[in-house]
Symmetry: C2
Subunit: 372 residues, 2 copies
């Protein structure tokens, strides 16, 4: 049984392509993980998610602990069985969403107490409880519990938060390692914090390396700082993390974000954008985003993207998709989500091939030129 | 090219099983037609609808004329191409839904003027316009334009309405026949009216027979009169219609309605119930309806229906479906709709087999005993 083995097959500049081998399957990197917030990638059957080329999906600890509850998922045989997905699942720690979604939060050294946004019930998330929840879910890649502060706060606020996240990373490591059988099959990733500050990012990376993780995430970006600031941070942050471990940029992003981040040495991504946009009538294509609600599509017999082999593009016109979205029909959300996830996986595939063939720079230039 | 040929393969009591051959495919009867109101069977891809065993689906003239518009569908190559369904489509005439959904209705001998429930725009539906719309959509089975009055009105109101519907049936026939190439490939069904009154049903049937149609619908039932009154009417109404033509009971119904109607000589059905119920967390099973929202399912690892081979029952627990529906996840609506349409097609299949083997009465008794 391979618990976790990351092999880099090729590099091109800072970009890398490789494979993560885990007991539930291989993850080809650079990898994009569709988000299955509440034990479902919204509007998609799991086999359709797999058919787009996804090797791994993400589940959200915050949502799942509140509904249906981690203990309940465990009694039902774990998240994989519950949602009928037998390949790897990465679960976040709940740290980010408890900040963005919950109410009446109180943060102490111990952890975060909060009220559920669903029913107001009180809960605690701490490094130990987050590890326990992710173990109960049966996660393959467990994320350390961290605090994700807004990037626009004063340096000393960011610094204090990062230091606490590093103490929480240590507690996460200890709690994870005490997880018995689950710890023997799963991987644990640490999360670098420090917002846009190079010194704090360095401190955070050093603290994580001292603890030791299977992979390292770059947290605290894609929180409103803008692409330029994000790329500036990615110019230095990934290299601070161990070269022989996967680097995961959390919550990113738009297609051009992915290309720029891969170019800067990132290996893994997750984002709700392709699925959420799909539900809102926004499609991603090789020629750029398309808002299918726009009246100009009402009688357009062309497919969404002539270069796309997904089901939406193979069988349906823009006019039909426009109609479905305008009429609020679920099939519109289903087809556009499928198209967007398909497009994201094709983009990752194209990046992997370009890195393997040492032509990433020209691929990136050509993609940017076509993506309007 | 077979325009329309109905063959009865076997009868058992009043129940019949057979085949309608049309240029776009065969329809096995008794047939259940899933409803694709707005050019989509809600929450289902068309190939998944076909995979349940559906030979034909229904489209709604009223909805389609308002959005995206019949002329637009025609410019886009017709309804089949628009929605990616290449088998037969039956379109209703708009007569029923203009009564139930539109606003500011005015009914005259000419037809019905009304305001769209979507945007208040003014429209006319008449026999001629209904035939034109159904021709523009490219319908395979076109329904005559009728008025569908509430069954609880005085006999003279029902009688006057029925008489007008019969004049409209004549105008529908003439307008359909003037439809050129479309008329050569499509079929036209007349609709019997007369509510629960045997004499009026007889008059209506005689008027329709005098005009001559490919098939005959029983209209004006399933409008709140209750199962007992509906069955009482079906005890005499089907036999008034030509024996060698399909008889279609519009808008019906629950599983036990279908069994009772087939027993009384009905060949075709349509109903939103399996798809609408699926979106609302209600499932149909061989043991009766199941409300998956009920808390008792929250940790039930059993499938919805152990006797069912649909995808929802093959891969997911009641606990998971409960979670999806409680969380408002689209996948819940998708899986339950698929299950319900699957169940309805299996029920039709079982009835066809029981008739072919001359054991319909025992099948019906056994189904009723198990369906609690």
């Amino acid at each position: 049984m391979t618990r976790f083995a990351f092999s880099i097959h090729a590099t091109d500049g800072k970009a890398r392509t490789g494979t993560i081998a885990m007991r539930r399957g291989e993850i080809r990197t650079p990898a994009f993980m569709p988000v299955g917030t509440a034990a479902t990638v919204k509007a998609m059957k799991p086999q359709a998610v797999r058919a787009t080329g996804a090797d791994i999906i993400l589940g959200n600890t915050y949502h799942l602990m509140l509904r249906p509850g981690a203990e309940r998922v465990a009694r039902l045989g774990g998240l994989h069985r519950f949602m009928n997905w037998d390949r790897p699942i990465l679960t976040d720690s709940g740290g980010y969403q408890v900040m963005s979604l919950s109410e009446l939060r109180k943060i102490t050294e111990e952890g975060v107490t909060f009220a559920s946004h669903l029913d107001g019930s009180r809960h605690l998330l701490s490094p130990e409880r987050s590890m326990e929840i992710q173990r109960l879910l049966g996660s393959d890649i467990v994320m350390a519990f961290d605090e994700c502060p807004r990037a626009d706060q004063p340096r000393d606020v960011i610094a204090r938060s990062m230091a606490m996240s590093m103490r929480w990373a240590r507690r996460s490591r200890d709690a994870f390692d005490a997880g018995g059988e689950h710890a023997e099959g799963a991987a644990l990733f640490g999360i670098q914090q420090g917002a846009l500050d190079e010194g704090l990012r360095r401190e955070s990376a050093d603290a994580l390396r001292a603890i030791g993780f299977d992979g390292y995430a770059i947290g605290g970006l894609a929180v409103g700082e803008g692409q330029e600031a994000m790329f500036a941070t990615l110019d230095f942050a990934p290299a601070m993390l161990p070269e022989d471990c996967p680097r995961y940029l959390m919550g990113v992003g738009k297609p051009l974000d992915l290309v720029g981040a891969v170019e800067r040495g990132v290996d893994m991504f997750d984002c709700v954008l392709p699925s959420r946009s799909g539900r809102n009538g926004q499609a991603f294509t090789w020629a750029g985003p398309v808002n299918i609600r726009n009246a100009k599509h009402a009688e357009d017999q062309a497919p969404l993207d002539p270069g796309c082999a997904c089901e939406a593009c193979s069988h349906y016109s823009r006019a039909y998709l426009h109609h479905l979205v305008k009429a609020g029909e679920m099939l519109g959300a289903m087809l556009l989500t499928e198209h967007n996830l398909w497009f994201y996986q094709r983009l990752m595939e194209a990046m992997r091939a370009a890195i393997a063939e040492r032509r990433f720079a020209s691929f990136a230039a050509s993609f940017r030129a076509g993506y309007l």
